[in-house]
């Protein structure tokens, strides 16, 4: 059987990750592909635990990073490997590069981050979704009704008000994500445009890796 394809969609919350991932999924299913999705914080091993405890761990960056890595590893070991072996397309709603940007944003050591994450299967295609901070803030507020202190990295900018804190966080995160994209050859897609337009551009990249 032909081996499947792994596509990673990377970006900060509000970058359009989940909605464009759904777009890719719909497209691939329409084309007759079997699609499996994974995402950060959704493993059987730690997914639920992580979502309940991460609020208590905001100042334990190494711990939280390793917990996310464990969560990702569990999904790779079970879901991803199996799906790829069965010839499916695996879509990752956040993968190693999102984690890398997360860690760099929090000042973790660059070499340590990439050493730890070297266990991960390299994706066939990785897309970085980026947008201006103002777009991202509006999306997040519209989706959640507010800015969550945790999502705005309470641990990074504790002295600022919520919005400024959030801005700084998204700015730093995206700066790192762009840097990572250059280093690892991710396709950067700007999402502050009409959904269909963005979708088309993403699908163009997806088609390039489909066999």
């Amino acid at each position: 059987m032909e081996k499947g394809i792994l596509i990673a969609v990377e970006g900060v919350e509000g970058s359009g990750r989940s909605s464009h991932l759904q777009g890719i999924k719909k497209y691939l299913e329409g084309e007759g592909y079997g699609v499996t999705t994974i995402g950060l914080q959704s493993s059987q091993l730690l997914g639920t635990t992580l979502s309940t405890v991460k609020r208590d761990l905001v100042f334990q960056r190494i711990t939280l990073f390793l917990a996310y890595a464990t969560d990702l590893a569990d999904q790779i070991e079970y879901t991803v490997k199996e799906a790829l072996n069965s010839g499916f397309v695996v879509l990752a709603d956040g993968y190693v590069y999102t984690l890398m940007a997360w860690g760099l944003t929090r000042g973790l050591d660059r070499n340590w981050i990439s050493d730890v994450l070297s266990f991960a299967i390299k994706p066939d295609l990785a897309i970085s979704l980026v947008a201006p901070v103002s777009t991202i803030s509006r999306r997040v507020i519209m989706k959640n009704g507010k800015i969550d202190p945790l999502a705005s990295s309470i641990d990074l900018c504790i002295n600022k008000d919520l919005y400024t804190s959030f801005r700084n966080h998204v700015k730093t995160f995206q700066k790192y994500l762009l840097e990572i994209s250059k280093t690892y050859g991710l396709k950067v897609v700007k999402t502050d445009r009409n959904y269909e337009e963005v979708h088309k551009e993403i699908i163009k990249y997806v088609r390039e890796v489909l066999k």
Binding site: L46, Q60, R61, I62, T63, L66, A69, D74, W112
Partner: protein, 214 residues
Amino acid sequence: MVGHIIAFEGIDGSGKSSQAKLLRDWLEAKGVPVYLTEWNSSEWLHESIKEAKKKNLLTPLTYSLIHATDFADRYEKYILPMYKAGFVVISDRYIYTAYARDSVRGLSIDWVAKLYSFAIKPDIVFFIRVTAEEALRRLKENRRKIKPNEAGADVFPELKPEEGFLKYQGAVLSVYDKLAPIENFYVIDGQRDPKSIQIEIREKVSEILWKKES
């Protein structure tokens, strides 16, 4: 002012936990701020790890990462702040336990060392060395049943508990033996009488805590 980290390493049944506790009690009695931390004891991860082991969910990779997360949690929450505040932190198992257990499960020891590179090296590592046979003899003497994790049930699922214990602990011991000279372990023959072992440990710890300063 910074504190000290004193680590204990050895296979299951080597007696290192009792030695670590005796040292803690002794320092406490002397009025030294002391904190004892044990492997695999992070409050919020404990249940997840136990559950995963019971259901046999862990692969060598996730076994390694989840224990690293547990260590990091205790490290960032207790070990490092207490060290910085001048405590003597006694660690019943430290990063070398992961080096040994993860490499026995097939991971590269270099990768594991990198994974734990955030942790500061202890002032001293007491390696309480007993053979797997001796550790098993003690378990039997105390009429204690061998726990699946002590028998390396995930590594040697086909072996009976006793055989598994000997093989798994033997493999862990040989990694410790390789690490001992590289990481400058203070090796103690664990076959000796526990009291004389504790005396030696206290002498060594006194040297580290007090003699150097004077």
